[in-house]
Amino acid sequence: MQADELLVLVAKGDQKAFEDLYGLVSGPVFGLVRRVVRDPAQSEEVAQEVLLELWRSAARYDPGRGSALSWVLTLAHRRAVDRVRSARAAGEREMREAQRANGPAFDQVAEEVEAGLEREWVRRCLDRLTTLQRQSVTLAYYDGYTYREVAERLSLPLGTVKTRMRDGLTRLRECLGGAV
């Protein structure tokens, strides 16, 4: 059965359907969360919360709004981004304190935008974007930065980043569009 059909059963309290749904989506959910959150233990925690949230909130899935997998991954992405931002905020506080204690500030803008992209075709399509489009999109989606943070990291005006994000996503659609 497809994820879409399973979600409908899950919404009715069908635990067997949830087991099947778990089989279909746990890999994509865990992988995406880990890509954003990085830390393995925290990734596992977030992925579990997302999967349990699917059980709890299955009734909210509206097939008219898109595929079940999109819905699930959109949820997973949002939770992963929430986690990485709060971890980052805590880390930055610690770093500021460490800097006060240890003297000169150090710049830790280390770009690893391309790291860990396993599958060739998404990479190939990403490669077709301009550098700024690619960086804007991946810093936001894979690394959980807000567009304001992306603008800061790339030293670009806010308007430029927003435009690059939209153009980048649109070009990705053109490149990957047929490959569903």
Partner: protein, 271 residues
């Protein structure tokens, strides 16, 4: 700062929104805007699908133990009613109102209260933490006393779930009403979660009973909505759990036939 939120500026937030790249304040503003702006709503639907393509190449096998934890947690976790349907089933989820699923519109960010509650339990078991998340999500806690009581209950639930002999079972009747139980014979305890019981009319209540051979049923407590009940000091010879509808405040002994009954043999009792 308000200058940044001119309407024309808001239109341009569709792509960052689709990438989850707005800060909480802008996120809220844009969600409001989405309700009024059809072109942004249409654009967001498309861009969201585009963003999800970026997840195509990130799939990875989750840790094997995660499956058991999630499936176990599911057995004790109440579900939300479908939007607009409240007569039966679990109470609307306060957290859900604040953090909508994709396609739903409400307010971020997630309340930090939950994290504070989860962390002391994280060491026990992840399944327990999930159950606690569900518990605390369902109940709108108000007083410190209630919070403390819930923490204690959460710890006890964690112990049951962590017991080596913890086993799960579900009793279902027609109409979608059921109770799920995770029990440990060694701990002599069980977590009992109603599903779809709803609240009886006329101020009456759902009362949970422990049934034993040749002994009067013993009350294990009253359900509040679909919040799990923790049943302790269970007798090893217990044969089943039963739920009856009773007058407000509950009864010393059942006054009606059970609406749901669940045998305990499969979870290690009755010997």
């Amino acid at each position: 700062m308000t200058v940044l939120f001119r309407r024309s500026e808001l239109h341009s937030l569709a792509a960052p929104y689709a990438l989850d790249a707005l800060d909480p304040r802008e996120y809220q503003r844009f969600e409001k805007h989405l309700k009024r702006c059809d072109s942004c709503a249409a654009e967001v639907r498309l861009l969201r699908e585009d963003a999800v393509r970026l997840a195509w190449n990130t799939a990875a096998p989750p840790p094997v133990a995660m499956r058991d934890r999630v499936l176990m947690a599911v057995r004790t976790t109440p579900q939300e009613a479908a939007p607009g349907q409240t007569a039966q089933g679990p109470q609307p989820h306060p957290r859900a109102a604040q953090q909508p699923l994709p396609g739903m519109r409400a307010v971020r960010p997630r309340p930090s209260r939950l994290h504070g509650l989860l962390s002391p339990l994280a060491a026990t078991t992840a399944a327990a933490a999930l159950v606690v998340a569900a518990l605390f999500g369902v109940q709108a806690s108000r007083t410190q006393d209630e919070l403390d009581q819930q923490r204690t209950q959460a710890r006890e639930i964690a112990n049951i779930l962590a017991a080596p002999d913890a086993a799960a079972s579900a009793g279902r009747v027609s109409g979608g009403q059921s109770i799920n139980v995770v029990a440990s014979a060694s701990e002599r305890a069980a977590v009992v979660t109603p599903a779809g019981l709803g609240n009886p009319t006329n101020g009456r209540v759902h009362q949970l009973w422990l049934m034993r051979p040749e002994v009067q049923p013993r009350s294990l407590g009253l359900f509040e909505g679909d919040t799990p009940l923790l049943a302790t000091d269970l007798n090893p010879d217990a044969t089943s759990l039963a739920v009856t509808v009773e007058p407000q405040g509950g009864s010393p002994q059942p006054t009606s036939a059970p609406v749901v009954q669940l045998a305990l043999k499969s979870v290690g009792f009755g010997e």
